[in-house]
Symmetry: C2
Subunit: 473 residues, 2 copies
Amino acid sequence: MEDFEAIVGTDNVITADADMIPYLHDATGALKGSAAAVICPGSTEEVAAVVRLASKRALKVTVQSGNTSLCGGSVPRGNPDEIILSLRRLNSIRSVDAAARTATVDAGVVIETLQTRVAEDGLDFPLMFGARGSAMIGGALSTNAGGSNVLRYGNARELCLGIEAVLPSGEVIHALGGLIKDNRGYDFRNLLIGAEGTLGIITGAVLRLVPTPKVRATAFLALDGIDQALHVLNCLQDASGGQVEAFEWMPGVTVEAIRSVMPELRAPLEQTAETGILVELASTRASDAAMDESGEVALQTTLLSAIEGLMEEGGVIDGFFATSEQQRRDLWHLREATLEALVKLGPFVALDASLPLSRVPEFLSRADPLAEAARLRVLPIGHLGDGNLHYSVVAAEGHDWDPQRVAAFSSQVYDLLEDLGGSFSAEHGIGRSKAATLAKRKEPSQFALMRAIKASVDPQNMLGSGIFFPLET
Amino acid sequence: MEDFEAIVGTDNVITADADMIPYLHDATGALKGSAAAVICPGSTEEVAAVVRLASKRALKVTVQSGNTSLCGGSVPRGNPDEIILSLRRLNSIRSVDAAARTATVDAGVVIETLQTRVAEDGLDFPLMFGARGSAMIGGALSTNAGGSNVLRYGNARELCLGIEAVLPSGEVIHALGGLIKDNRGYDFRNLLIGAEGTLGIITGAVLRLVPTPKVRATAFLALDGIDQALHVLNCLQDASGGQVEAFEWMPGVTVEAIRSVMPELRAPLEQTAETGILVELASTRASDAAMDESGEVALQTTLLSAIEGLMEEGGVIDGFFATSEQQRRDLWHLREATLEALVKLGPFVALDASLPLSRVPEFLSRADPLAEAARLRVLPIGHLGDGNLHYSVVAAEGHDWDPQRVAAFSSQVYDLLEDLGGSFSAEHGIGRSKAATLAKRKEPSQFALMRAIKASVDPQNMLGSGIFFPLET
């Protein structure tokens, strides 16, 4: 450990059990590990030096930034030869270029910290999910995080214009040019994004920023069934010229379950909507923020009249319009309370399913009976606008939580997803929790290629051992 | 050859010199090669079988789709052990999902053919560049092609949701799910996009489609200097809520040179603009296509009033508004005539530079004197909205075209780009023409990683030998 201390300083090598606790369990509390030490380098050069030393000592390295992974992607395995490399001291916003609408940041910058900073320039970093107050850029990129605004701005991948990274060899890749067009050989930015720290450690990034919307229009809709969703979404996109920023599915069962443990949260509609949708439009055009002839904000009128049309058609049967920022916040607070509510209602498993939008109704009609048969209560929620459902389950009333039964149920749902052209991994990552699933379900030609690339880039299997590639034991 | 004939049929193995001609030279006519045969498989399975056979025989394979590369990316080297694998028979649009706004296509589909097909559904595939009438999807993805609409819709990379590809082993990767959120291990889609056929052969793709704009507003502006461009662009983005679809730099010297060899093309302004910009807004909103109070189409009014503001400020000094589709087409015809004009004015070299927008003025002020010193006449043009300049040169009047002098000049420009944080490869690719430049200028840590990945995926160096990695000879 002295050698690590020589690199990062004595205070930045944590070995005391009590001090390591926050680094050793995951965000849900369900996964725990142990490690020989937590090393906290303060610069890219220190990360490289730590990696070189770890390589020399044949140590395993688990990289951790905000430690909000839901898949065991940042918790150590617990072998004595393992260290945690924490990126939390790499927390500087290196620069913001307001005219070019980019920010260059360290990997340990908390997402919300960046958002607050660039708001000063009338800009936003539009990666929006519940954990943004503690999740960091490095983890968001390494897992290609998603969230609520993906249908408009893309995943973390699409928001990244360049990276800096330390390879297992200790060499550094500097690719922070931030150019929109740049084709100079293989695309390492995208190879490292979503690689969950198994091929290199992202230490810095150039991120795309967008102008803060001048106006938003937010509503909670009750749909006449989930099969109306794609039509409703396309109508709203057409009416607004593609300004739908969020299209979140909040079914009545889940809204009621959240409110059962968090009764201070307001119900969006008097009568619970079986198929609730939280929709938000946003525009950067001044004319959308202006009052129109009817004395209303133009974008609100756009949303309102589109929904009136849908109500006449019958696809939408009830609706609530947020007429104040507080009402808007209340809706989002309810949406983002899901994970906290599940933790209270748990044990739970949140299956992170992705589907073609047109197959969502069939998925639900086939998955729900599987849950019932497994004595599970489904509390789903989802970023429906991009086909991502968090199909979460807790024990059905009067039944125990049986991990084996849950695992069998998960496997049935994964079969179903495969059958419908979906994915068992949308935005939470693979981590260690889903490595066996990946090994089993990834197309063999692709999994073999993954192994070949991993072996060529990280021949010692130093980084993120057990992530993606199940341990032989 | 009989073995190849057994796979693809006798008619689809071309060995007669006369029949091979179209496959052996590039779009500019400058690069020529030779090959033992041109093999034209008709399905993904046939591509895989051809690759397996080529591997067994230790042949080199150059992949060709539309053969519009400007960098020798699809012309064979000319060794007797080399075959061309043409994708032209893989030309089926497999399916169009209008509700999901995706198309699944073979790699040999011509871009314009796809655009024409999806227009029937009110959709567009927004990859827009001069060669789209013969360039094919496979090549566009393999080079991560760009063009005029990148600032709104992204490069080819951002327009691709999934791929199918044949690996050097002959194994096939099927990743045509087309999901918006899908994280199941390493991102092979993005690794193969931009890999110029050196890691695998893309045989199919799922592509993003966008609704066809309901209205466009197009103008040609004279700016008071190139240093006004970023400000003008940001003002237009703000006024329109991000609806700028193209922002093309067409300097007076280039417009005049084009018209000197193609006098039938109209000049956009009576007085030639030193800093001309072709700008286009596009909207899918019905209200933008409607008449406003002044009796004008609303989006035209948006553009007009934004430009009036800029003229008052002084950044814009003259302008022409296209008031008919014909006038719009004339402007684009002039823009897209550049390559044809350069061929007539040639010999020429089109340096494919990418820069941070804020550094463009400095680049020009430093590059132009280098050209003058090298007895070269600069005829630049560029997708300025995304920082991509085609900095083309022909011999200055009264001077010869000296390839060595041109090469030295190119190298000076590349030094300058490096100094300004730019890239010598924006959207044309590396191919064989720029492989030595890549080897010299790519960060060593990154070039070594490229070599490692190439060696692990294609240990025989079968695919695209000489592309990216210069031949030892």
